[in-house]
C-alpha cells in the first residue's frame, strides 16, 4: 500500500510480536484467516507486527479498521473481548490495554493531527497466558483463536463484506513455523 493507491475500505490488522508467544496472536490470526476464509475485494488483511507511528498510514481512507491483538489483562486467558472505538479512546497512555497501547493511543492522535480520515476502529483482543520468547501460542489462546476468527467473520458480514469459511483451507503462510529447510550447500 502506498500513498498513491486506493485502499480497500475495510482493514483487518494483526498486531503483536510473533516471537513472544501469545503476543503473536494478531499476526498468527491473520495467517489463519487467509488460509481458512475467503473474503470480498473490499477487505485487506495485514500482519502489521509491532507498528509504531507506521500504523497511521494504514488508517487512511478506511471505513472500518479491525485490530487483532493480545491483551495483557481484563479477563481469563483465552477470553475474547471486543473494544469499540469509544472505549478504546478512554484508555490513558499509562494504562496499557494491550501490549501495544502506546502505539494505539498515539496513532489515533497522530492520525487526527495529520488529517487522516477513517470512520471506525475496533479491537478484537484475546487475553494472553504466556509471553515468553517462543513462536508457539499458549493452549488457552490456541483454543480461543477459532472463536476470534469467527467473530472477525461476523463483524465483517455485519459491515457488508463477504466472508466465508473455505471448505478446504489453503496453505497457511506461517514462515515462523517452517522447519528449517536444508540450505543449498
Amino acid at each position: 500500500m502506498t500513498a498513491f493507491e486506493r485502499v480497500p475500505r475495510v482493514l483487518v490488522a494483526g498486531i503483536g510480536n510473533l516471537l513472544l508467544q501469545d503476543d503473536g496472536f494478531g499476526p498468527q490470526a491473520i495467517a489463519r484467516l487467509q488460509s481458512e476464509y475467503e473474503f470480498g475485494d473490499d477487505v485487506e488483511l495485514l500482519d502489521l507486527g509491532t507498528p509504531a507511528l507506521d500504523f497511521v498510514d494504514y488508517l487512511a481512507g478506511r471505513e472500518v479498521v479491525i485490530l487483532l491483538d493480545a491483551l495483557s489483562s481484563g479477563g481469563e486467558p483465552g477470553e475474547v473481548i471486543i473494544y469499540e472505538q469509544e472505549r478504546l479512546k478512554q484508555f490513558l497512555p499509562g494504562m496499557r490495554l494491550s501490549a501495544h497501547q502506546p502505539c494505539l493511543h498515539e496513532t489515533l492522535f497522530a492520525a487526527e493531527a495529520s488529517g487522516i480520515q477513517f470512520k471506525e476502529v475496533m479491537l478484537i483482543g484475546i487475553v494472553g497466558a504466556s509471553f515468553d520468547v517462543d513462536t508457539a501460542l499458549s493452549v488457552p489462546v490456541k483454543r480461543g483463536m477459532t472463536r476470534a476468527l469467527e467473530l472477525v467473520r461476523l463483524i465483517l458480514e455485519r459491515n457488508g463484506v463477504s466472508a466465508r469459511r473455505r471448505k478446504r483451507p489453503a496453505a497457511c503462510q506461517q514462515w515462523w513455523n517452517r522447519p528449517a529447510s536444508a540450505p543449498a550447500l
Partner: protein
C-alpha cells in the same frame, strides 16, 4: 545528605529502562541505568536457516525493525564473503536513509521535544508574534499565522477540557522549562506537522520494502525487488518518481524546520551544552556502501578516544578487522552467568538474576566494550567522527548548525560543546539533514544504475560445509548496530546482536567504568527530586529504545512511570 531517586520505567521510550540517581546538593553524584526485562530473543534463530534469520530478527523490536533485518542479511553475507549487486546496495540504502529520516523526526518532536517545550504556556502565546519569529528563522510555508493559530487552538481545547490525554504525563510548569510561550507554540505547531512528514519518509520505506514495519524485500545476497522500468507491479519509473515526490516533501521539512528547531532549542538552553557529556569515547561504523564490493561509503566510520575530537581513527569497511576483534561484552554487572568479557561470536546468554545490587549485578543489558573501553554511539558519535575526518557533508551541516546556534545565542558555540545533552539533539538534527541530502543522492544512484540497463538485484548465496563467522553492521539512527553470526554446515549455531542501546545503556564493567547513560547523568542538575525532568532530558537525548537492548515487552503492563524519592 544524598537523596536517592528511582525512575521506573522511564517513559516515552519503547521497553523498560530504570534509572537510579543519587542527588547531592541539586546535582547528580551517582547514576545507574538498568534494563528490567530479560534479554535472550536471539536464541530463537539458533539452528535455523540463515537465509530466514532476518525475518525473525526484524521482530526483535517494534520500532527499529528494518535495521535488524538489514544487519542480519549483512552478517550472513559477511560470513559467506559474498557481494550483492549495486541495485541491491542502493535499494537497501534508500530504505535505511528513509527509515532514519522518519526515526529522527519522531525522536526529536514526538519523543523528546516535550522535555523542553511547556505545552501549558501555549494558550497565552501570541500566534502572530510566533509566526513572525518562525518566519525570521526559516521561510518554511508551515510557519503562517494560520498554522500557529490552529496549533494553539488544539492545546486550548485539551487544556480547557482538563483532558490532557496523551499529554497527561508531562512535567508542565517545571522551573527548568524556560522557553517563551511563542517558541513553545512554534515547536508544537511543528510537532503536529512532523506527524505528516515522518509518514512520507515511511511511505518510501514501504514502497521499496513492501510494507512497514517488517519489510519483505530482503534476501541474503541482495533484494527481491523486480526491476523493469516498463512493467506494472515492478520497480518502474512511475514508482521511482512517486518516491522522489515524497522525498522532495521530506527534505525541506528536515532541513528548514527540524534542523532550525534543534539549533534554536540549543541556543535558548545554552546551559545544556555543558551538561551530560559523559563517556567521551565514540564509535561509528561506515554505512551507505556505494559499490558492490562495499569498499566505499557515503557515511564515514571511526573511533574517537578520550574526548580527543580532533582525531578519529578510521574504520574503512563495515566489518573492519579492527572492529571484529575489538568488541567484547562484559557480564560482571549484568544478570548473566559469567564475569569474563566475551567476544560476541563466543557469547552466551545464560540468565542469572540477583535482584538490583548497585555494587553487583543490576541490569539485563550486557556491557559492550571496545578494546575494553565503554563507547558512546549515536548521532553525536557519527557527527564528531565525520567532522574529525573532514567528511564534507558532515562539515557542511555541522558548521551551519554551530553558526546558527552562535548567532541566536550571541555566544561562540564550538564543536566541542556538542559533547553534551543538547549536543546530542543538535547532532541528530545534523545527521538527519545529511540523510536528507543523501536520500536524493542515492535515488540518483539507483535511477542512473537502472537506466544503464542493470537490473540485477540478487546473487544467490552458497553455504560452505563447516563453520564460518560473520558480522553485519549498520550505523542505525541510535548508533552502531552489529549482528554476529556463526554458521555451522549452513545452519545458525550462534547469534548475538550488539545494539546501540546496549552500548549506551550499558551498566558498569569489571573495572567499575560506567556506561554512557550513567556517566552522562553525573553532574546533571536536579531542581526538584519529585520531578526529575533534567534526568529525563539527558536520558532521552540518547534516544533510548530498550526493547531490543534487552529484548522483550512487559506482558503485565505497568502504570505510568513511578518516581520514588528514597
Amino acid at each position: 545528605m544524598a537523596t536517592r531517586i528511582n525512575i521506573d520505567p522511564v517513559t516515552r521510550i519503547e521497553g523498560h529502562l530504570r534509572v537510579d540517581v543519587e542527588v547531592d546538593g541539586n546535582s547528580v553524584s551517582k547514576a545507574w541505568a538498568s534494563c528490567t526485562m530479560w534479554r535472550g530473543i536471539e536464541n530463537i534463530v539458533l539452528g535455523r536457516d540463515p537465509r530466514e534469520a532476518w525475518l525473525f530478527t526484524q521482530r526483535f523490536c517494534g520500532v527499529c525493525t528494518t535495521v535488524h533485518a538489514m544487519a542480519s542479511v549483512r552478517a550472513v553475507e559477511d560470513a559467506l564473503r559474498s557481494q550483492i549487486p549495486p541495485n541491491a546496495q542502493f535499494i537497501r540504502n534508500l530504505i535505511l536513509i528513509n527509515h532514519g529520516l522518519h526515526d529522527h523526526i519522531v525522536h526529536f518532536y514526538h519523543l523528546s521535544a516535550l522535555d523542553w517545550v511547556d505545552l501549558m504556556t501555549i494558550p497565552r502565546a501570541d500566534p502572530a508574534k510566533a509566526a513572525s519569529l518562525a518566519q525570521s528563522l526559516s521561510d518554511w510555508t508551515g510557519n503562517s499565522v494560520k498554522e500557529m493559530k490552529a496549533a494553539q487552538d488544539k492545546v486550548k481545547a485539551f487544556a480547557g477540557s482538563g483532558q490532557l490525554g496523551m499529554f497527561s504525563t508531562g512535567y508542565w510548569g517545571h522551573p527548568a522549562m524556560k522557553l517563551p510561550p511563542e517558541v513553545n507554540l512554534i515547536a508544537f505547531a511543528h510537532y503536529l506537522q512532523a506527524f505528516v512528514y515522518q509518514r512520507y519518509a515511511l511511505q518510501v520505506v514501504g514502497m521499496l520494502g513492501g510494507k512497514t514495519p517488517h519489510i519483505q524485500n530482503l534476501a541474503v545476497g541482495g533484494v527481491q525487488n523486480a526491476i523493469n522500468l516498463d512493467s506494472l507491479g515492478t520497480l518502474n519509473m512511475d514508482r521511482l518518481y512517486q518516491m522522489k515526490f515524497l522525498t522532495d516533501e521530506v527534505v525541506p521539512f528536515v532541513q528548514q524546520v527540524y534542523f532550525n528547531d534543534a539549533c534554536t532549542l540549543a541556543a535558548l538552553y545554552p546551559e545544556w551544552l555543558s551538561y551530560g557529556g559523559g563517556v567521551r569515547n565514540y564509535l561509528a561504523v561506515p554505512d551507505l556502501p556505494v559499490n558492490a564490493q562495499a569498499s566505499n561509503f557515503d557515511l564515514p566510520g571511526g573511533v574517537i578516544l578520550d574526548g580527543n575530537i580532533g582525531f578519529s581513527k578510521t574504520l574503512y569497511t563495515a566489518a573492519d578487522t579492527e572492529f571484529r576483534h575489538a568488541v567484547t561484552e562484559d557480564l560482571s554487572h549484568a544478570w548473566y552467568k559469567g564475569n569474563e568479557p566475551q567476544h560476541p561470536w563466543k557469547g552466551e546468554t545464560v540468565p542469572h538474576y540477583t535482584d538490583f545490587e548497585e555494587n553487583g549485578k543490576y541490569s539485563w543489558v550486557k556491557a559492550p566494550r571496545y578494546d575494553g573501553r565503554p563507547m558512546q554511539v549515536g548521532p553525536l558519535a557519527q557527527v564528531l567522527i565525520g567532522y574529525a575526518q573532514g567528511h564534507l557533508l558532515t562539515r557542511k551541516w555541522t558548521d551551519l548548525a554551530l553558526e546558527k546556534i552562535s548567532s541566536i545565542s550571541k555566544r561562540k558555540v564550538t564543536v566541542n560543546d556538542l559533547q553534551s545533552t543538547m549536543g546530542r539533539h543538535v547532532a541528530r538534527a545534523i545527521r538527519c539533514a545529511m540523510l536528507a541530502d543523501l536520500a536524493q543522492t542515492h535515488w540518483n544512484y539507483l535511477v542512473t544504475n537502472i537506466s544503464s540497463g542493470d537490473t540485477a538485484v540478487c546473487n544467490p548465496p552458497k553455504f560452505p560445509d563447516g563453520e564460518v563467522e560473520g558480522v553485519g553492521t549498520h550505523e542505525a539512527p541510535r548508533g552502531t548496530l552489529s549482528h554476529w553470526v556463526v554458521l555451522r554446515n549452513g545452519r545458525l549455531s550462534n547469534y548475538q546482536a550488539v545494539v546501540p542501546t546496549t552500548w549506551n545503556a550499558s551498566p558498569r564493567d569489571n573495572r567499575g567504568n560506567p556506561g554512557p547513560y550513567e556517566a552522562s547523568l553525573v553532574g546533571n542538575p536536579v531542581i526538584d527530586p519529585e520531578k526529575p525532568l533534567e534526568v529525563l532530558r539527558t536520558v532521552h537525548s540518547f534516544d533510548p529504545c530498550m526493547a531490543c537492548a534487552c529484548h522483550t515487552f512487559d506482558p503485565a503492563g505497568k502504570p505510568i512511570a513511578k518516581v520514588k524519592v528514597l
